[in-house]
């Protein structure tokens, strides 16, 4: 007689969320405004890349493979003829460390999907569509296609924007005069306002502002971002009150 084994051994008992064509379409359409801003941001990167003497193909491949504005711009800082791999990889890990946190937050939702769908959605994940999708799910629509659709439209905006920017690159001599370097800050400030949920976020926010400003005196922006995210999470964790 063979003893029946219980297949469920881990804490992971997740029901597969719906993943429909309708969800993908919905995400694709909902993220349109974001896609336009990403297109613009991609153009800025294209301009910077062309001024760093990257070819159009190199810029496009970088945008498609790395797909992270802040990381790519940071990698371009001090870019010279022969790129040094280790410092650049470390830079990308630092600038993109926040995605580790985004992915962690997605586990309860995407955990029930099969691997190709889940990891394709993660490949296309951006700051904007992540925030948008988390909001959508909280509002009651748990169709995981939303994340893929919104990610896809942003990915298209980013890569197409990179190409356009690269073609225009030579026309823009001093991009900082057009506020290019202020782009990430401006969008972050807008998203920050949208994410702030009033009183319960007040003390974590104040604590994090303090930590961010102090840390910025000693550390590069990538570390400051990671520290700030962790600080908010830790304060949120400690201050959490279970509502019975």
């Amino acid at each position: 007689m063979v003893r029946k084994k219980n297949p469920v051994t881990t804490a992971e008992i997740l029901i597969a969320p719906p993943f429909t064509r309708r969800g993908i379409r919905h995400g694709f359409l909902r993220a349109q405004p974001l896609a336009w801003s990403v297109l613009l941001y991609g153009m800025m990167f294209g301009v910077l890349a062309s001024s760093a003497a990257l070819s159009a193909l190199e810029s496009l491949l970088m945008s498609a493979l790395v797909y992270s504005g802040s990381a790519q711009m940071a990698a371009l800082q001090g870019w010279s003829g022969a790129p040094q791999i280790l410092p650049i990889v470390v830079t990308i890990l630092i600038m993109n460390a926040r995605y580790v946190l985004y992915g962690a937050a997605l586990r309860p939702w995407l955990g029930g999907l099969d691997a190709p769908r889940a990891y394709l959605s993660l490949f296309l994940l951006g700051d904007g569509n992540w925030a948008l999708a988390m909001k959508e799910r909280e509002a009651g629509d748990d169709d995981a296609g939303f994340l893929l659709g919104s990610g896809l439209v942003m990915f298209i905006g980013w890569t197409v924007g990179t190409l356009i920017g690269h073609l225009l690159g030579s026309l823009v001599a001093r991009p900082e005069l057009f506020g290019v370097d202020f782009l990430l800050t401006a969008f972050s400030a807008a998203l920050m306002m949208g994410m702030f949920r009033g009183r319960r976020d007040l003390w974590p926010a104040i604590g994090t502002i303090f930590i961010a400003v102090v840390a910025a005196q000693f550390l590069g922006s990538g570390w400051v971002i990671v520290l700030s995210g962790l600080a908010a999470a830790i304060i949120g964790y400690v201050a959490h009150v279970d509502r019975a």
Partner: protein, 100 residues
């Protein structure tokens, strides 16, 4: 259109590092139980990330950036449209920098 071989190598390493970040947190959480307390922490985390980007810039106290940020926050409060708010802030910074 051209591409250098050592550039391609660097690019592959960059792409791999980037995807490792995107997939890593999701993968690792497979082995963690998400309690309500942990979920509360995961929820407030994005706000912290945004603060980590904005606060250091504000703390530098440069006039164009401060006005730009003020405009973004104001328009966000009034319109709730993040694209409009951010774009206005960028335009404001660009204009003020030309003037100063």
């Amino acid at each position: 259109m051209s591409i250098a071989p050592d550039f391609l190598l660097a690019l592959l390493a960059m792409g791999l590092a980037s995807f490792a970040c995107r997939a890593g947190g999701f993968f690792l959480m497979r082995f963690v139980t998400v309690t309500p307390r942990l979920e509360a922490a995961l929820r407030i985390l994005p706000l912290g990330v945004m603060i980590g980007i904005v606060a250091p810039v504000a703390a530098l106290g440069k006039i164009p950036e401060l006005i730009g940020l003020g405009l973004v926050l104001l328009l966000m409060k009034v319109t709730g449209n993040d694209f409009l708010a951010a774009l206005s802030g960028i335009v404001a910074v660009a204009i003020i920098r030309q003037l100063l």
